[in-house]
Symmetry: D2
């Protein structure tokens, strides 16, 4: 904490603020300046709220100095966190880039398996897809629930994909934890602290999406909630924020990636589908996300987006997804990264085309 006095504050007012700081059990450090005096405060353990000082006579401003996060911070753990998955060579946060792909919603067994096969063939590592859907309207399709999770599990068996899917409350989290390899917490629940704590007690890694208007600090604090309960396998995901701009559904804030990497050891992915809301912007933004240094992508792919029950306009088709995989592999190579090898030998041939000559 730093208290900045007004320029016309009296010495007595400065002393009064110092006394108040001491009365709160803390230590004041007055720094007289040419124009005004500032008072540094030490000894606080995060309990002090600025307001007790802000309204005192002579006080101009109170500035918070310490950062509230601990476990997510590079100060605490300088090395990058690498999230690993049992019985799989796939990891997130290491040298290579990971890709999660699939439909917005799991709509039927046929739809899910069709898309899963195609994204696996193109080299995806995870099947994404919603069994529990947070929809703006109560009258929209709300997901297949456990039935959807079973379909995803079948896709895992058949195509060697890991599966990631969203939990929206404690009940669905119990089931997602049972079926999936990774538990997604959606943007609308980024500050559903009850759900974050439950995810912190889960035995599976958590994919935490940035809230629609979350600052970097709030985003890191949401991850801190999960970690504070003991689950250290947290992967962040930028998915666009709400601004005045109306040419995209959200404004994808790619500068968050280097900003997170400076402050935190946690991996971070990018979702160019929700981040733009427009099919024709997914590929350019996917390339940009890898170029900026993201640890991976989560992308909506649908074999028949015209009839998708949700998010059709932002889903790309499997042919576009194959182009995406090829382009990001080339861009990853510029950053001396590759794309993680796909799981199945059956897709090994497609895979070969993904590593450009320059990366060898």
């Amino acid at each position: 904490m730093l208290v900045v006095m007004q320029s016309h504050a009296t010495e007595e007012q400065v002393r009064e603020v110092c006394r108040k700081i001491e009365a709160l059990g803390l230590r004041p450090h007055p720094i007289p300046g040419a124009q005004r005096t500032a008072i540094g405060i030490t000894g606080n353990q995060g309990a002090l709220e600025a307001g007790s000082l802000e309204e005192m006579p002579g006080v101009g401003e109170v500035i918070r100095v310490s950062k509230p996060y601990k476990l997510v911070s590079r100060d605490l753990k300088p090395d990058n966190t690498v999230v690993r998955f049992p019985n799989s060579h796939v990891s997130i946060g290491g040298k290579d880039v990971v890709v999660m792909a699939g439909p917005c919603s799991i709509e039927s067994r046929e739809q899910a398996l069709t898309v899963a096969e195609q994204v696996a063939a193109a080299g995806a590592h995870f099947l994404r897809g919603g069994a529990y859907k947070p929809r703006t309207s109560p009258y929209s399709f709300q997901g297949l629930g456990e039935e959807g999770l079973k379909i995803m599990a079948e896709a895992r068996e058949r195509f060697g994909l890991l599966i990631v899917t969203e939990a929206v409350d404690n009940e669905s989290l119990d089931l997602v934890e049972e079926y999936a390899d990774m538990i997604q917490i959606g943007a609308r629940n980024m500050q559903n602290f009850s759900l974050l704590k439950r995810a912190g007690r889960a035995r599976k890694p958590v994919l935490l999406k940035r809230g629609m208007s979350a600052t970097l600090e709030e985003f890191l604090m949401a991850a801190e909630y999960v970690m504070s309960e003991g689950n250290y396998n947290v992967v962040l995901c930028e998915r666009g924020v709400r601004t005045f701009a109306d040419h995209t559904r959200n404004t994808l804030d790619l500068s968050l990636i280097p900003a997170v990497q400076r402050l935190s050891h946690l991996p971070i992915l990018v979702d160019p589908s929700h981040g733009t809301g427009k099919r024709n912007k997914v590929l350019p933004m996917a390339r940009a996300a890898v170029a900026v240094g993201a640890d991976g992508l989560i992308v909506e792919v649908h074999h028949d987006p015209d009839h998708a029950l949700s998010d059709g306009p932002q889903s790309i088709v499997p042919e576009q997804f194959a182009v995406l995989m090829s382009e990001i592999a080339q861009i990853a190579a510029v950053l001396h990264r590759g794309v993680i090898a796909p799981v199945h030998s059956s897709t090994a041939i497609a895979r070969e085309t993904l590593r450009p000559a320059v990366a060898r």
Copy 2:
């Protein structure tokens, strides 16, 4: 839905779009214009997503026309909803203005009863206060839980106040429903659809706060979630939105009040405490809120804000609250409204001063 074709779109492209619309089971209505053709669509039941048409050759833009909300809409129910409370003359959404006041958090029996007595004396109708606190940091005070609810219930008995408090998940909602007169859903949970549905099955009225970056439509759709489960006693609350502006914690968007009143029959309150985050701006914005036509206020009051465990900087002291009550009564009178009479005869004298001569 309206499809706007590009100016150079061919007639064949227009026909192709019409065919596609018919294939989706809908009816196209082409409107040739001087510069370009537009195609109206009828027959859709909200299921159609714009994307299936947006990417067709010759299409410039797809514009959604129908509003997705039904139960919240004035189209359905032209008369204002008035939310009533059993065994009480207090109601929300009627001619007079209602005031909810109290500490951010219920910290102790002594603190809660002290504040409750003082706000009751000044004419408040509801005691507000958090027993379950959604805090940005997992290391901050998280509320007293059921113990806090019991303290609030005691305050109700002693000072004749109704009580409103926040539920943060299904578990806490069960208890809040049992103890409180009104269930608050906080801004961070405005799109926690699982919680909204549970609130929709509750037997108590719901106070729904606007999310930090919610559009008017999203806010109304959140209310629609509650109503769609059968609970029609919903009161909205504007509490500031997130913008670039840094002179307040949030930007209190008072124009939302007439906007809601035009589209919906639901009552709407204003929270000038979270809406500004600064004690010295609570009174001016409370006056403005009543002047713009809000049905009431929810205000943070603490008898010792310097030692509050949360939100001290934005809590006003009881003396300021008494001034607030007096000022808003005078402003309500300009709009031919009063302030609802307080509950207890013991506060009747204080009350007399609240109705200005002009309102008689």
Copy 3:
């Protein structure tokens, strides 16, 4: 300036930062804390940029402490500025509220005189109206230029109104300075520093509108530009900022009024017409603006808004304006303010109705 070191910064890194500060001709004040060391800096005259320190090893963050404004500040001039107009009893920033009203654009002599007569009769003090219009499209009506200024001058003669109109470049400012009583700088030009300096050399008061995305500090710095050239008669005006909210054209940020009043001695008005962009929200927000403590209003009024060449949707009709004048007079009375008496004796009768009984 305050440099906050990282928690794992070494003592040598702290010393290195101190040496660098000294090398820049400034004085470092290290404050060791429980978790990390902060270093206060004194002696800077605003020239120091944070970047020179931010990238040094061990540095976590650099926080700017001093405010950059001087002449606009209450630190320098504790008393409110009252802007007066020669040969008129009207002033801005004093006890009473001032009202500026008129069409968006001066379209013709007949239109301007019709509106002027009606707003004068209802008690307005200034005729507003654009002779030079900053329009988003080059194909929209751009204003009548000097011809429009002459029409406004005629309206002044006939109806005893002061006139305020916008200058968009140095050429138009020369003419506006000649004809008008007050020079308006529009939101789009709030950081047209060349124009601000020219306005600072003008002999007439300046009405400075907040830019669409200006912070409080940037707004005050724009006023500082005008004052730094010698023109101390500056009146600020909040007119809405750009946010994600789509139910109004802009989001009117009324909390700016108490925020400005705390930091600056300059008067501040509110423009509820541009601030909402919707006719049906002008009256509620005008009431709120006076309730929050604004020194006056600037409102678009048109006798035939359906045929207005600009801003028809947000212009109120003269009958609505008369209601507005009556309502704000009653609200001003609650704040122990009145509305300045109108200029002409011919409107004195209408005026009588504006002061409510309660204010006597």
Copy 4:
């Protein structure tokens, strides 16, 4: 225009709106729907304002359909605009990527020539630098004026760079037009329509930066202003927009690049320096900008940013710039683009390293 009637609107209200549309000289096209009637309007030439209809009984909403821009539109000119420079092989908007680099401000002859030599050696095509600086504070360094332009001209002679610099008013534009190869209009002046018109009469190409809170449509309309006066050589530049996010100075909105390319034929650059405000984010965002498809970059480079008179914190040093050139060349190759060859043979060797093997 499309008028959407309320669901309970009567047939008479629909007819009344149709009559009003005809009275305005336009043609109504009613489209009855299941829930409500919509009325298409044709024949309008942009003169119609929505307000005349929006307030009629039974009207729910009025939606604008036509786009206001013409000359900037791909509808008018499907092929990409390529801006060429006389006596130079450099062009903007063609196959290859162009890079503008240099200090924020031209501070002295020595500083400018030092930076110019280094950026030329690394392969830059343009020297950027401000001779007229729009500064938030009137007390900050405002630029060297014509002296700065002369220094830039000398740098052009010595290092074979083209020069681009900002004009802030008509006076400075006259001089910039005389000395520079390209006239920059800054973000704060994007809606200084007087300056845009003057730039539209200039004989040099214009680099138009996006305003801090400009929508895509407003940005294109600003370009339309320049083109409407006859200057068709306009290059757009995304430089970050203002949002709530506080980890960067602005939020760089890279999705604007594909959005512009879909609607307009004009080239578009990205400024990662102002777009982030942080030196450590310039390289990642520069890579991302080329990956998304931008036609080039404009980057702040300073050989001694600690002593820069402006924007030191966001300036990269020449060594970082050389890395940037190498990285973007490799990323451009993934998109089958190169980086334009530098002007001087003396830099030809450095150049060789920029084209990666894969691009051959």
